[in-house]
Symmetry: C2
């Protein structure tokens, strides 16, 4: 039996269809192609009659990165029963079609959660304490020009009358009420990290989580009203699209801060820019945008905004973890076992 | 008795000598001057015969911010028995003279500790995850120019061969061995904050701390050898001056990171610049420098360095806390009670 398995011709390996846009390349552990027969539409040989004869029977599609997976694409592969995704959010996948066809879908599981949580905390401290703005201040050569104590002269021992120079207003993390929107794996890790800073955590999610002691708010408006900062780390769906709108930002208030490590379209970006430019909210830390890689240029001039090019999740360690979860999902599918990071479709 | 106390003329109030350099002004709660008679050498009336007659008997000196307090200055006030400081570090005060004269000295106590710890964590995440560099990348307009996935194309699914483009190398916090130098109030708070990120904490201090389970290293070389990042939050003294030298940086290694929220001269800055420019250490997050406000310009070009203009401690909340500890120290001195934040002189 053992020698028979080892002598299997590649033709007998389980088929895995790769779905990707060109920047995303596959260089998983070199043994992946030895375990599965990979079909890649971007490969010139894909159009060969031999490969095409396999396409109609392929049961598993591996979607790399945020490559859009539309209903039309799925229609071309009628035998697909499983989409193995490789990102935390799957808003690039037509989940309604998957649900209708009974296709199971997996995401990156927890592979990216720690990275995203770390980055959300970094963005929050950066906005409150102006880390990036301070770095810019120094690199512009402004420190010697503005004197040795640009802050000291304004703030130190001048406790009562600190009202001018909003740019350099700094906020302490301790005591800040942080509202986490989406208390999944990422959100829970954010909460765990922020508690030792003295932040007071509350959250919004579709359903109250069992065994979680943080206050749950059923709607975002109430959470915003009772928060100094909102952190977005939920999935982008029809329901969450533009959930941070004018009303929510008004409820958050002039000193309120918004951190987004989820998806750009969770926020009505045009409104956000208006609120920031007018000073109607206190600041924002953004890793994602509605029209990436375009970022509203009005934000480039603001010191109470921290901008990041969608890389809250991008460490080598996270990609090693991702590789493991992707392979585990593929192997579980072909072994008819429960998929480690299957998502709930509704 | 009560009415007699209330009718005290200002002349009968305890004398407090203010010592400050011009940027630092006193606007403590307005009632401070109603409780104490403040003598300020920067005040024109200070040279009046009436004020000068009081100077020789003043017992308490309130030192604002990092105003240098030399032996010569102290000699001019022979009756001073107590120096109330208002910063965490007191390297600007001639502590040897204080010790010789038996002057008790207080610092800011814990007023700034949370701010400093928060900032140290922010600098560490920023260096490891390139938050400020990412912000700069976007504000330079580089994101659309470099394509939608500046990282994805290099890193995503390319796990084995990530060796080029050091600038964009990102590190995960989880599993990093962080060596804290100085496990006082600030260092302890840093440790508490970093544990939920999955960092592995060790520390160096003059003495092993009782009731602390983190490994203690008696010398900095050993700590550097066993750390991925060093965080400096100890006092600057003759013993700690340039403690981070060429040998320690070599021990820390090419991927090692140095965070400094203590004082600039804890590091041999010229060596640090050489190591960073040559890529012989992995990065640095600096809030303090040897010749503030001068920052070595070689660092301005480096994306693995985060620069901050000495404002790890600068939130309004911290200054409120500072005010409380300063007043508590002054009141305790005049009441002959133990001073809340007296430091140990040796």
């Amino acid at each position: 039996m053992a020698s028979e398995a080892q002598s299997s011709a590649p033709d007998n390996l389980p088929l895995v269809l790769i779905h990707r846009i060109p920047p995303f390349e596959l260089s998983f552990k070199s043994w992946l192609p030895t375990r599965f027969r990979l079909l890649d539409p971007l490969d010139p040989s894909f159009s060969s009659p031999q490969t095409q004869s396999l396409v109609s029977s392929v049961r598993l599609l591996l979607c790399l990165g945020p490559s859009p997976l539309t209903s039309d694409t799925l229609d071309r592969f009628p035998s697909v029963q499983c989409v193995v995704g490789s990102s935390a959010g799957l808003d690039h996948v037509d989940l309604a079609t998957c649900c209708r066809r009974g296709i199971t879908v997996t995401n990156a599981g927890d592979a990216f959660s720690a990275d995203a949580a770390d980055f959300a905390v970094a963005l929050l401290i950066d906005v409150l304490r102006r880390v990036s703005a301070g770095d810019r201040f120094i690199r512009a050569g402004s420190w010697p020009a503005k004197g040795q104590y640009p802050l000291g002269s304004k703030l130190l021992f001048s406790l009562v009358n600190i009202t001018d120079n909003q740019t350099w207003w700094l906020f302490q993390l301790g005591g800040k009420r942080v509202g986490i929107i989406g208390l999944g794996s990422i959100g829970s890790m954010i909460a765990k990290r922020l508690e030792p800073f003295g932040c007071i955590i509350a959250y919004n999610s579709r359903r109250k989580k069992p065994n979680v002691s943080f206050p749950h708010y059923e709607n975002v408006m109430d959470l915003a009203t009772n928060s100094d900062a909102l952190i977005l780390c939920c999935a982008l769906t029809n329901e969450t699209h533009h959930m941070i709108n004018k009303d929510v930002m008004t409820a958050l208030g002039k000193e309120g801060v918004i951190i987004n490590v989820g998806r750009g379209a969770l926020i009505d970006e045009k409104e956000l820019v208006r609120f920031l430019v007018k000073g109607d909210i206190g600041g924002a830390g953004l890793d994602v945008y509605e029209e990436e890689p375009e970022v509203p240029r009005e934000l480039f001039e603001l010191d109470n905004v921290v901008l990041s090019p969608h890389r809250a999740v991008a460490t080598p360690e996270a990609f090693v973890a991702l590789q493991e979860v992707v392979i585990a999902n593929i192997e579980a599918f072909f072994a008819n076992k429960p998929l480690p990071s299957q998502i709930e479709l509704e």
